[in-house]
Symmetry: C2
Subunit: 392 residues, 2 copies
């Protein structure tokens, strides 16, 4: 029996919602490549997307068809509700071959199922839907009209079910624990890699009640000079006293992510840095106090923008993004952003990372908050105190 | 001053070798998307490929041009030797936008540098070179003939320099330490996630002399029923006695990877499982004893195939693949595979993971070896004993 993370009823509802969107967009069939979308619709959970991996959803089929490398089909039987006939694979000689491509046998499966016609949506901008894959589909399926179905399923994922919300709360507990372990370990003279190793240990061991899985992205750990950069890598160097350090991480529970960033200051922060921290914390708190269903994404950003501008600051980058399921290379859902122009209306069950950080010419700071939109307002997904972690 | 991992002389040699391959292939310019290739030619090291990231190499320019999201340009200044004029970026409103795409400003930069003509190679099958990105380039650069330059730089990377070989040996030490930590932690009743957390901790803390960085892929940790699967995910469940457990991990030193797999058997393995282990270890040892420069990749596989067939076993999947630099989702270089038909001639400085594992109907085993090809034979990159780790 496969070990499903959700009920089959929930998977059926997700599939039904996807088919509604397909009909709206005029697609008879879609071919998915985004591992998060494949996981969402089937539960498939193995590291298989390094080789072309597809999920074919057709309005005329009751189940999707999983197609991947032969040796990963066993994992499809172990982790999905799909019937055996809907778990298909290509032989190993197609893997990273210079003379053939996995899309050839994949196209044969589509023909066999009579799906090699009409309008097929593909995820044009999904990370693993390469230009080569698309060219091979166009060549192998000459009777198909291809259209762009990128983000079609991502948008279905925007509102989280109660079961998904529970996993996101658990991810929040893991994120809290990992950030606490990091800050606890930070001290002048400790190698950066030794702090990060404690983060990883806690991200995976999780809590006594539930463990964690890998996150889509490594910790962003920016100390010393790199505090000006948002996505830098840790080094082997020892931490220095009297300087800030930005840590951005997530907890991941069964691929549901809850991110958090905190700045740690080793030593006594100068007055100017406290002012920066106060502006960011005030901006974050003011924003969080305002968030409720019915607001648009851009209205949320405006609250923050007004607040920090009173302190003379400005942020070019978006204030945040929708979160939920994630596979490398990002825990953002790639749909809604908290920024000017995004008119998505917040609904109960949506989740976001409010990325209230500033990267300035010579320094940086990040004190952030992941949250769920609720019926009446919002629920913080991490419980970590919103403040600069000054550590003497 | 940027913190370079290699001398500028070495970066210049890599660029020169790349330009030789470009001329052979008839490309005036190539646009790279593979993060490992971008790292290889410039040293760029930050988590920036979740948004379109490009490196433009032209035969007419002395340096490549880095193009990415504006907030990651600071990391390009911190980690590469590129002059400021060659670090370019696009504003934040292009990131995950529904109305514009980062290829638009990227194409403007190409025009400005007079590179919007002639024959341009792109990495058609590279993970982050999406169908959308390619379509946008074709639309924005109508005077360009696009060709496929996938693996052009990957092939330049096949033979490792002495400095790269040193990093790979260090990655091997980290892999050895992480595997030792895993086996040490394994015991009946211990949660799978708690074993994996020790792996991560050691992968990152590394050794007292050098730390580790994130690996391209999470540990593949397949216990119980999942021992039949090669790329399964750990669970929260406690390990059971009297069953095998496959662990595949890597150590990563500055993105140079050294993978290793071992099977742990908790309890007393039955005679039949010992026979399986003996066949795999004999096959691996026989293969390793044979490997020397001048052999072809398929000849290496044949040694293994003959050895295990004497015990009645057969492996459909390739025996191994070239290793070196890696970014998610794979530590394989995607060039040479140890399998029938691959006629690549082994040369000193090439590195491979000999993936001597078998996944059978009801069980699985993996006892593998990463190695460098040397002047006279080969050098094992991990020192872990090649045997089944039976643990009573």
């Amino acid at each position: 029996m496969p070990a499903l993370y959700f009920t089959e009823v929930e998977y059926r509802a997700r599939l039904a919602a996807t088919k509604v969107e397909m009909e709206k967009s005029g697609f008879d069939t879609i071919i998915l490549s985004d591992p998060a979308n494949i996981f969402y619709l089937t539960g498939f959970d193995a590291w298989a997307f390094y080789s072309p991996l597809f999920l074919v959803v057709s309005c005329n089929l009751d189940q999707p068809i999983w197609i991947g490398r032969f040796m990963d089909a066993v994992s499809a039987r172990d982790t999905t509700y799909l019937r055996d006939e809907n778990i298909r694979s290509y032989p190993d000689h197609f893997v990273q071959s210079s003379t053939s491509h996995p899309v050839e046998p994949t196209s044969e499966i589509l023909k066999e199922r009579n799906l090699d016609k009409g309008s097929i949506g593909v995820e044009m901008g999904a990370y693993y839907y390469t230009a080569r894959i698309h060219a091979e589909f166009v060549r192998n399926l000459p009777n198909v009209r291809f259209g762009d179905a990128e983000l079609l399923v991502n948008r279905v994922r925007l509102v989280k079910s109660p079961a998904e919300q529970d996993y996101m709360r658990q991810a929040g507990r893991i994120a809290d624990a990992a950030m606490a372990a990091a800050i606890d370990k930070c001290a002048p003279g400790v190698r950066e890699c030794d702090v990060v190793s404690e983060i990883y240990k806690t991200q995976i061991s999780g809590t006594p009640e539930f463990g964690g899985v890998y996150t889509t992205s490594p910790p962003h750990f920016c100390a010393g000079e790199r505090v000006r950069t948002p996505h830098g890598l840790w080094t082997d160097q020892p931490l220095q006293n009297n300087s800030p350090l930005n840590i951005e991480i997530a907890g991941a529970r069964l691929h549901y992510h809850c991110p958090i960033s905190r700045t740690v200051y080793l030593g006594q922060p100068p007055e100017s840095y406290w002012r920066l921290a106060d502006a960011v914390v005030e901006g974050l708190n003011t924003t969080m106090d305002s968030i409720r269903p019915g607001m648009t994404a851009e209205e949320v950003e405006l609250v923050w923008r007004k607040s920090i501008s009173r302190h003379g600051f400005e942020k070019e980058a978006r204030l945040g993004y929708s979160i939920g399921l994630g596979f490398p290379p990002t825990w953002g859902e790639r749909t809604t952003s908290l920024r000017p122009g995004d008119k998505t209306v917040l609904q109960p069950g949506m989740a976001f990372h409010c990325m209230s950080g500033l990267w300035l010419e010579n320094t940086g700071i990040a004190i952030t908050q992941s949250f769920l939109v609720t019926e009446n307002g919002n629920e913080p997904l991490t419980l970590f105190e919103r403040k600069l972690a000054a550590k003497n």
